[in-house]
């Protein structure tokens, strides 16, 4: 049975910036090659969560539906809004925010949840990010049923503008992967990040128009785009609500800018660099594969060599995030 995944493994203690970036790119490419695995893992996560229940993953749909219905009636009353305006808005907002919030929350545990795998076999870290994304897209698809039902009941159709949500969704996918790699790495190394992230997300839920509508702010509406969560949410939500493309384009470009800037600044080292690269500086050097003379792939020429002197985990942490995650896991075991 062939198992020729790693034809060459070449790890140096202090790779230069070029090697690190190449390793990061290979980590992502290698992860993309393993997408069938990420798909299977994401799907199994959902299935195992609802195993042996009659409704299965449709419990997601049902519980979201109940929440939307109850919150919808309550808040329509509190806000003195018409229910047929408010409920479709709420259903869409809650489901979309649910995706964003869960991705961010699960980003923090993306690597630590897979500790047994990370410590048992060398896998591209991108795999775990893809797993989180796939799992949450599946949840989103189940929850989207609620949006469709509510829209059908209240006869709210967004029209062709809705198609403009597609590039928004694509951007969400890229952002999700970036945020999982970034937060996953930091949270594996520094366990205090998780509570910080969850409280930020909770605050964000209330200060972002999810339960309430932007129009309720009156003139202060103009300040809303300063909230990055609003931009991010609206690049998908606005088209689905049937907004004009002008506003949408504005929100889109703003979302791109903000997310790219956040990636660059949070990942620190390189201006303009994607977080995938910066957080994954210590990964697979398959780029060297092409440089391997062919005879090395013959069994007779197989070699294992090691010259290892790990010193301080702290220095590993400063060297690269991925290494830090590994070291944290290593230390946790000791």
């Amino acid at each position: 049975m062939p198992a020729a995944r790693n034809a060459l493994l070449d790890l140096n203690a202090d790779p230069g910036i070029v090697t690190r970036n190449r390793m990061a790119v290979w980590d992502v490419l290698d992860g993309v090659r393993l997408l069938p695995l990420a798909w299977a893992l994401g799907w199994l996560d959902i299935r195992l969560r609802y195993r042996r229940s009659v409704l299965g993953p449709f419990w997601l749909t049902l519980s979201t539906g109940v929440m939307v219905a109850s919150l919808g009636y309550l808040y329509a009353h509190i806000f003195h809004t018409e229910i047929h305006d408010y409920l479709p808005y709420l259903a869409l907002s809650l489901v979309l925010w649910g995706f964003l919030g869960t991705v961010v929350a699960e980003a923090c545990t993306a690597f630590t949840d897979s500790e047994s795998v990370v410590r048992a076999v060398r896998m591209p870290f991108f795999l775990f990010a893809a797993r989180v994304l796939i799992r949450n897209v599946m949840v989103l698809v189940h929850n989207a049923v609620v949006i469709v039902v509510v829209d059908a009941v209240f006869q709210m159709w967004p029209g062709w503008h809705a198609l403009l949500a597609i590039p928004g969704f694509l951007l969400w996918g890229i952002d999700s992967l970036a945020v999982v790699l970034l937060l996953g790495t930091f949270c594996a190394r520094f366990r205090d990040i998780l509570p910080i992230v969850s409280s930020i997300m909770q605050i964000a839920f209330f200060i972002t128009p999810v339960l309430w509508q932007p129009s309720q702010l009156g003139r202060n509406q103009a300040l809303l785009p300063l909230n990055p969560f609003f931009d991010l949410l609206d690049i998908v939500r606005a088209p689905l609500l049937g907004s004009v493309p002008g506003a949408w384009l504005w929100g889109f470009s703003r979302g791109v800018c903000l997310s790219a800037r956040a990636d660059a600044s949070l990942s620190g080292s390189e201006p303009g660099g994607h977080s995938e690269q910066s957080t994954h500086t210590c990964r697979k050097p398959l780029g060297l594969l092409s440089a391997v003379p062919r005879q090395f792939t013959k069994p007779e020429k197989n070699r294992v060599g090691g010259c290892v002197r790990p010193t301080r985990p702290g220095s590993a942490a400063s060297r690269c995030g991925a290494g830090a995650a590994r070291h944290q896991l290593q230390l946790a075991r000791r």
């Binding site: 790890l11 695995l37 792939t297 020429k301 294992v304 790990p310 590993a316």
Partner: protein
Amino acid sequence: MVQALLDISFSLRGGDRLGLIGSNGAGKTTLLRTLAGIYEPVVGHVRVQGSLNALLDSSLGMNLELTGRENIMLRGLYNGLPRPALERLAQDVAEFAELGDFLDLPVRIYSAGMVVRLGFALATAMRPQILLMDEWILAGDAAFMVRSADILVLSTHDTRIVTTWCSRVLWLDQGHLRLDGDPDYVVAQYLGGAAEAATVTAGK
């Protein structure tokens, strides 16, 4: 601060059978993980050429909630096998593990013997050029696996396993390389050292 391994240099070629001995915490498993690329060196250099499989996880990497077939599929996907190869893998493993109809039931309800058979069949289904093993796997009938790999690195407490299977032995002691050489010689020194330590303790 933890210094897991320090000043350990060696290289292996096709046909080499390396045994790692040493007490608990000597760094045997850490060295295996480093060779597998799971831990990356903070100082130094690791270079491995050839397909590699590391059998380190004593829980055999199985998810008890999944069926036997799903576990086999996942293992294949982890190894990057394409779809048709997955089907073949499932057949091979199922035959080898003699699971019959249990293949489509959760591993949770398997008998202990069936779990071991499935785990062993999974572990041996991949035939890498370089095999890294913690000693647990040798509890089974792993002789043919040991022979099929070009390079074997084996970590164990059991000096008899080392003298039977290995052509070279590294004796690790608190992350340092204590002795490197012929199995009989290193094992004799290792056991002698242990006996000496015991005498000293008893003398106190």
